[in-house]
Subunit: 354 residues, 4 copies
């Protein structure tokens, strides 16, 4: 990497709050890769590093027979899981704002399945809305000419950073049971939920409430990687082959195993989340103090303030943030995201600029 390149990657006077995947891996993850680098092991996730990571995740989830599979990314995990669960005549219910509905370039449809959208509220899917969707479907005399709802997709935190309560999840579970639909939870940012004081859902709860979910690594301290957990593996037979068929099976599966083994050692995964939440809370508090309004009731690592466009113009040379959406002609919703890599110093510098 020549100096010039480094310069382009790193501008020392810039603050980086655009996303939670702007750096490498948590130093302990990198250290583990270093420590094991020249050890030999077999491929495709059959190695002892993966085995150890799986065991730690099973323990953390409280399900000793769960299947755990390590994939490289979130869109991939969603496509492999959903197309492994659905039958060809079925679709997957998602909030209209769901990642699979909006920002995965049609990955689900590419596998032959329709995404059945239901309006979300603060990014969440309500049990009542899912119930109503299914009830309308089954009461339609023509439903055999339509795509059967065969699965429910949610994320926690959601795209808007919001969290399901335990009660909401239990209601969703009940609706899923009523219509015999597996419940799948996308946990791309799960560390930032688990570490959040407002969060009511533990990994053990997820293992009871969901048929399948994934624990996000890419945005939570790993170089890359997501851990798909299937509490009752019999529900998704031949998932290994499905992973291979989707081009999602890593020859050096151990690299994923080593990373998750580290994230699930000494509560590192929670610790990573906690640090990000502390920074996000500092930002949220400062924004409220200064009278900014916040879009979405996000208590996690994403903060969505509404900014006056003139203020924003002043900010943009100093802070990298994400444009979220136009609020009105004079205001814009933006996103600040924190991560394990966000420092308290940078956070305070940002606050001074607000």
């Amino acid at each position: 990497m020549n100096q010039n390149t480094n310069d382009r990657a790193e501008n020392s006077s810039m603050l980086y709050f655009a996303s939670d995947y702007m750096e490498g891996a948590h130093p302990l993850v990198l250290k583990a890769l270093q420590d094991t680098n020249l050890m030999h092991s077999s491929g495709y996730g059959t190695d002892p590093f993966c085995e150890s990571a799986m065991e730690k995740i099973r323990t953390a989830c409280g399900v000793k027979d769960a299947a755990v599979h390590f994939l490289a990314g979130g869109t991939q995990a969603n496509a492999v899981v959903i197309s492994s669960v659905l039958r060809p005549y079925q679709g997957v219910i998602s909030a209209d704002s769901g990642h699979i509905s909006q920002h995965e370039a049609g990955a689900i449809e590419h596998t032959g399945h329709k995404v059945l959208t239901v309006p979300g509220y603060d990014g969440k899917l309500s049990a009542a809305d899912v119930d109503s969707f299914c009830s309308t479907f089954y009461n339609d005399d023509n439903h055999d000419h339509m795509v059967m709802p065969g699965m429910v997709y949610i994320s926690h935190p959601t795209e808007s950073g919001t969290l399901y309560t335990l009660a909401e999840m239990k209601e969703l579970r009940a609706v899923c049971d009523r219509y015999k639909m597996p419940l799948y939870l996308d946990g791309a940012r799960l560390a930032y939920a688990l570490a959040c004081p407002a969060n009511e859902l533990t990994l053990k709860d997820l293992a009871v409430l969901c048929d399948v979910f994934y624990i996000g690594g890419t945005k939570c301290g790993a170089l890359y990687g997501e851990a798909v957990v299937i509490p009752d593996p019999g529900q998704i037979p031949h998932f290994f082959t499905m992973i291979k068929q989707h081009g999602a099976l890593m020859a050096k599966g151990r690299i994923l195993g080593i990373q998750f083994d580290t994230l699930f050692t000494d509560d590192l995964y929670l610790q990573i989340g906690r640090s990000a939440i502390e920074c996000a809370d500092m930002i949220r508090e400062a924004l409220k103090d200064r009278g900014y309004s916040l879009c979405f009731a996000s208590p996690t690592n994403q903060v969505f303030p509404v900014f006056d466009n003139r203020k924003l113009a002043l900010l943009q040379d100093k802070v990298m943030y994400s444009f979220w959406e136009k609020y009105d002609d004079e205001h814009t919703v933006i996103r600040f995201a924190t991560s394990w890599a966000t420092s308290k110093e940078d956070t305070q510098t940002l606050i001074r600029l607000l």
Copy 2:
């Protein structure tokens, strides 16, 4: 990683020649990840690390406008490339032994396309056989009821470790031109071809002869990753979205960029290959000296000796190798693979056991 796990990963009295993806990354690759770890950059391959790596690969290939995309694995690269190039009524021609035909769990068919197999010789596809296949197709009055050959897939080295000569490649290119089929080369083990004295094909040749090819990282020194090169990017429009749709777009694209930037700095990629070839040559020579016959004319990092089953029984507690195929009731073809991580010491120890 606890000690116990390490024990399971590493048995100090064992020799590891089963595959070329049994360790982590080349130390310089890991060092680059370490050095850049806390730098900030944008996601999805838009970062300066990727930009630098792309530029170095373009230079190495001698095509300054080539598109370079970094994907996570080989099956993934094959599925994304092939389904981006083919029209729905087309299939891809492959040697019957081709990886896409045998060992990718139907990844190509999953995208809706037939793999049209032609018998290979030593893992290679001959121009004459491809010509004959196409000629038979177009001369069949019913060819509109059949899958049109729309692309040719080869690998270099092949599954059998063999190499195409420059003349063979030019013939294949001519057949492809005759039938208007793009030529795609899978370079999962390309470093081990490029570094091989017998190899006639440079990266610059590939960029001229192929419509698209990938430079393998996973088996050639990276933690994971393959670099897809499209010399004339206009040939595959919206490839970025296709990558996303296949769940193959990495949020932290930089991790791939940093690795390939390193592999293409100071000829590291070639150096990695050379070290593996030296070890493989030592094994080959020893095997020939001792009268073993070798299956396939592989001059690369894979060696395929025929062993007497009794000899093999003695070997298997001391060496990890790959079973390749049954030769006859008393003999077996096995594979020894070397890699950048194979030491001369281990190689000599292996030789003493043969």
Copy 3:
């Protein structure tokens, strides 16, 4: 067919207004099948009957080089056309009420493509809404992570029986041109549009304004069959093979050819439409006279009155109609459909019952 069966099919005291596919074929169509029955011809649509029908349709459409292909049904035509036109990274824009969006059991998604829904008005898609959808898409910085709008699907008449004006169609065409999207028109009930006094669009207009459209046979006098017209055949290469791949190529293609040849002889297709429209107009007038309100501004063969539920209860033993949707707790929207097979006598009997 035994008598008992006939009884179940036919209840002489019942009136049949539930749909436009409750009988066989127009008598002239059946006669043509009878007259040609023992003649010999080649298969797969290569026969002289198909050739004659194609030529008549080309003439009717005023495009002498158009490709005409006969398929068996509407969902099939939609799936084959749309998946032949779109590239894998593209989806098709449809009104949310569009048949492909609601009532084809995910046939489009099954081919790997997302249906991109835009709110319709009276079943129609407005150029402004399509423009806004596309403009939002292209202005979104993340649009490479989203499904590109690659085609526009409309029907004429629409699901609600409404018609596009010539001006509306020209606007849609202009939007399609702006975003380089082919325009596809589903004409399942086209005879009932063409014969309608309010209709402004001729077959010649469609051939100029659309990239591809189909002329419905199943609901307009044929036993089954739809004629797909591609004014510029080069736009959809290898469409024949696509038809075969979708299982949509009829071995006895001539049966479709004979039917369409008849429908396009001596203006039978228009005459079929006219008779149905006259009956529908009688019903519409009677409904208005009696103070019923009509949902949707349909001037074609479908009429959508709002009925008091008590009135409906009296009607249902005497008339077969279609339930459309609940209007409020005491009212229901129903559909009466007429066809070439609807008699003036039955229509007058129905009117007396209203």
Copy 4:
């Protein structure tokens, strides 16, 4: 249809033996369509005509709870059935000469599934070869990286006109049971098997031995149509929706019902087959008498003689036959096909020309 067109369809001095789908429908089928033409009934196969046909087929098959579905064509039936039965990680075993493998334009792969080919003998698949294929698969340590055999496809008669014996079928069934694979039989020309003296398999046998099969109509007396029989309907849930999703659900389903109801009244289906077999036997006998050799041991309505190319040149202005394959530089294999529409007179005229 103008006279000129008729002329092109019918050349009075020509003999038509090219295929079994060169005419319309058996006169009784057409009469039934005529007789029922103006009766009213509901759509999508829910009418009493279909119900009656289903009941007659259930009786003929001796399975009173079987599901019977009417589809429009054979490739369609194959694609709908196979993609409804297979899970995404599975493929279908077929003889290499199987219709799904060669002549359906990749219809099976289009649904995402690989056709796993096994060499056939005389167009048939042997139980031993299927067993060997599966045994090799399951004994391969890498089989989780490969496409699992999930179903077996055969046809009866085969592409070569040959027939399975009852013993062969029982052996195939046993292999299917051993590897938990449903057995599917394509009966496109089933009438010509059932009516053949050499045939050992009754419809009742098929219903016991197969998990699903279809009774061909298109080539056996109908205008179009195939009847898919699922002896135990629970094995393929939501098959109706799968039919719709594939664009294979006919709005006027009754047209298929009326045809099959006729074909299964008073043994018409068998009678149709018998007449064709008698003609084929006459041709076979004459060919043998004159010393021609026959390719394939076909006792059904297809005859595959080897002709000297000079003789063939003389024949081609007088007889329409099918080119089958080149035998050697001076000889060619051709096909004569008879059908319900073949007259004894034409057959004798053909024989005089041989």
